[in-house]
Amino acid sequence: MLETMAEESISNGFMMNPVSGSNPPGVAKKKRNLPGTPDPEAEVIALSPKTLMETNRFLCEICGKGFQRDQNLQLHRRGHNLPWKLKQRSTKEVRKRVYVCPEKTCVHHHPSRALGDLTGIKKHFYRKHGEKKWKCEKCEKRYAVQSDWKAHSKTCGTREYKCDCGTLFSRRDSFITHRAFCDALAEETARVNAASGMHSLAAAGNFNYQLMGNPLDFSTVFKPNISSSNDDAIDQTRRGFSLWMGQASQGQEIQQFGSLNPGSIYSDPLVSTTSNPPALDYQLNWVFGNMVSSGNADDHQVTTSVSLPVSNVKENRPQLVSVPSLFSTQHQSHQTPSFSMSATALLQKAAQIGATSTETSFLGSFGTKCSNSQDGNKYSDLYVSNIPTTTTANDISTLNRLQMYPTKRRRMQNEDGGGGGGETRDFLGVGIQAICQPSSINGWL
């Protein structure tokens, strides 16, 4: 059921000028009858390559003139004033003819896979086994059949592919690659539940430039955080939360600037790194919400700020499972379990708050999704993992519930903008995005 939903939505989402002979990406190939499964009663004709390639096969018996098509020959014969009988074709019933490809290695060489018409077998022969003499000027593509080349030239460069997220592409390959990684793809199963409420993300892209223009200004924004102690930092980050409210994708930008702090690394790599990282980690800790830094003191901070990650589910969910691998091995063992316990404990606590009535509507389609992702994760044993299996349907619905808090909701919508999604992101879209992640954890574990 899931797959048909996907197919429907995808075929609606793709907009491209149809060109004969090409399969639009994203539409699962329908298995129709294989070309070349002919009527068993038909007469099988095996023409030689020479004959197939001959352009004027139809010869007039009177004057020997050759024609490409039988109709043309008949027209010509009328001009010879033949007696009536000879003017007509013989009335005996002509058996249906099918043609095999002379190329022995070809799949259509065998009579069971013969093709139904002469033009078809000719084109096939040229396409598969012939020399590609016709070349498109715009894109270098080569064709063996002139009509294919003509058809292509008409549309070459004019095609546009549009992704569900709204981005337009002129190149098919970059469209396909984008599609595979697009958040719109991840959300396609939630399409039926999407409510109104568009959120434009065009502005998100511009943030990069503004920030880039004034790197120093940004480090001053964080100055208050840098010099404080652990407790102060926590308060700072909480205050900082409101600072972030209106500023969408800065989250991502700040991360990069955070790493600028060791800019003085040239003078003394050792000194600068030891002084900056704690502050850096606080900033990043807050941004990600669940980042664990290398200092022991941060354990406490993680526990208290863990309310934030829940709102930032879109970014954090993958973070949640990948936290172990972000750090050097010495930190992994003692850090991760404590963190994951807190997050899971929080979820369980939250589960007690809300009811599970929302479950059915959102999770109807996700029931199958969960099971799908389970068999897909064969490498779970190869994967380093310390996260206990505690995410349940309860958690999913309460997660959604938690997103109803207005401040967090706004932030999440903005966050999504930074994530490089599409125009139609809305509250429920985001909520469902959040839902998608936990279920994948389920399957992963």
């Binding site: 797959e3 996907a6 995808i10 090409s22 990406p25 994203g26 699962a28 190939k29 298995k31 294989l34 590609k132 894109c139 270098e140 593509k141 080569r142 002129s170 690659t177 984008h178 599609r179 595979a180 990684f181 793809l185 991840a186 990069n208 430039y209 880039m212 223009g213 790197p215 991502q252 991360q255 990069q256 955070g258 790493s259 800019g263 690394i265 040239y266 790599p269 050792l270 850096l280 980690d281 990043l284 980042m291 290398s294 970014e315 993958p318 973070q319 990948s322 691998s325 972000l326 750090f327 050097s328 897909g376 064969k378 490498y379 190869l382 994967y383 380093v384 930074g418 994530g419 490089g420």
Partner: protein, 421 residues
């Protein structure tokens, strides 16, 4: 225009491909131009001069000169300036580490900082943007996919072993081709081998996307990730889980250079033991390997290569691009590693010792024989390059050389090749 006439490229490339010494390149560089007469940030060449002098001073252990030059470079450089300033800044960092023997620590710090600011979203954005503005990576993907599809044509069960840090951006187009090419869509098993933490952390998300996309394409698909390795040299046949009835393709993108020099031959032999139908290799055209015991020569080659790369980034991205900054930072880590870290301090390490296509060919010929790329693939590559800004070209080597080269302003920068047992 650079990419119109292949013949021109061929002639131009005859010389660079034969000569492996870096001195010819660097003397061109300081003589005032990389061949096209364009200033492009190398106008007064101060960075190159100072950097090389400093490298020599370090090699000579001339302490006062070292200090003087480091100070000067520190004054003039900036990671946010023009190309010269950036190169000065990042190479200064490596020189400093070399002089103070703090390369490994610096590298570890830079890496952990990068890991902290790294997420699936940032990684995805980075790699897709790079592929949008430059064919540096898509060139190799396209050619490799072409060779793989041709080698595995007609096989019902495919197993592709992907040793790369491409975050699987190579595979959507291959999946699409598998889905649309034939009536019988084969089953594809994709095993991705990752060692870098920065990649490891996002593989979960990547795997979901890939599985979903394959479902969409209607390709029966299985995805495995091998993350337990910390150095590629330790990869074993057993870990890969190759089955009897599978048609195997080994795909190495920027992978061989990460293997320590002495582990390269054994690894290639291990690939051979998998009985693959095809092995595709994509590497960047630079030699940090044969010069690894000669600091100055290695330095100059490193500078030559990264100058090209930085100039390319400068031209392809917008001036304020965050992605460009990320890529430059990635380079800075590589530069520190190549110039200031000792190789194989322990047996469990990786490096970044690039070799040129001809050198890799010598190694691969020990176990494999080269497969040429078909005309169709060459056409596809040319079509690909046409979709990018001017400056890119395709060079098809002649004589005994194998593979295809991507050229930037007539310089070979990326090499792709295909091999069979």
């Amino acid at each position: 225009m650079y990419n119109n006439n292949n013949n021109n490229n061929l002639h131009h490339h005859h010389q660079p491909q034969i000569s492996h010494t870096s001195t010819s390149r660097s003397s061109d560089y300081s003589a005032g131009g990389s061949g096209d007469g364009e200033p492009s940030g190398t106008g007064n060449k101060w960075a190159s001069r100072l950097l090389k002098e400093c490298a020599r001073a370090i090699s000579d252990k001339d302490s006062s000169k070292i200090h003087h030059l480091l100070w000067m470079l520190n004054e003039l450089s900036s990671p946010y300036g023009d190309c010269d300033q950036k190169l000065a800044s990042y190479f200064l960092q490596a020189l400093f580490c070399k002089a103070t023997e703090s390369g490994q620590r610096c590298f570890n710090t830079l890496t952990s900082v990068a890991e902290k600011s790294h997420s699936f979203d940032s990684a995805r954005k980075l790699i897709l943007k790079f592929q949008e503005v430059s064919p540096w990576t898509t060139f190799g993907h396209l050619a490799a996919n072409g060779a793989i599809l041709e080698a595995l044509d007609g096989e019902p069960k495919l197993h592709i072993i992907d040793i790369s840090n491409t975050l699987c951006t190579q595979w959507p187009t291959l999946l699409e081709a598998l889905a649309t090419r034939n009536d019988d869509t084969p089953h594809l098993k994709l095993t991705v081998v990752v060692t870098a933490n920065i990649v490891r952390s996002v593989m979960k998300e990547i795997s979901q996307r890939m599985e979903k996309f394959a479902r969409l394409m209607g390709v029966p698909f299985e995805f495995n990730v091998i993350t337990g390795l910390n150095h590629l040299g330790g990869l074993t046949k057993e870990a890969l889980g190759v089955l009897e009835d599978e048609a195997v393709a080994v795909n190495c993108i920027g992978a061989l250079r990460r293997v320590t020099v002495k582990e390269r031959a054994p690894l290639i032999q291990m690939f051979r033991s998998l009985g693959p139908k095809v092995v595709t290799v994509v590497e960047e055209e630079a030699d940090f390997s044969s010069t690894r015991y000669e600091f100055v020569k290695c330095f100059e080659e490193c500078l030559r290569f990264y100058t090209l790369y930085f100039e390319m980034l400068e031209e392809c991205f917008t001036p304020t691009s965050n992605e460009k900054l990320m890529l430059e930072r990635e380079c800075s880590r590589s530069i520190v590693r190549v110039l200031a870290c000792e190789d194989g301090q322990d047996n469990e390490s990786e490096c970044e010792r690039r070799e040129r296509g001809s050198q890799w060919s010598e190694r691969l010929k020990e176990a494999f024989s080269p497969v040429g790329f078909s005309d169709d693939v060459a056409d596809d590559v040319k079509a690909l390059l046409k979709r990018y800004k001017a400056g890119w070209g395709l060079a098809q080597p002649h004589q005994n050389e194998t593979g295809l080269y991507l050229t930037w302003k007539e310089e070979s920068v990326v090499w792709v090749s295909a091999w069979k047992p």
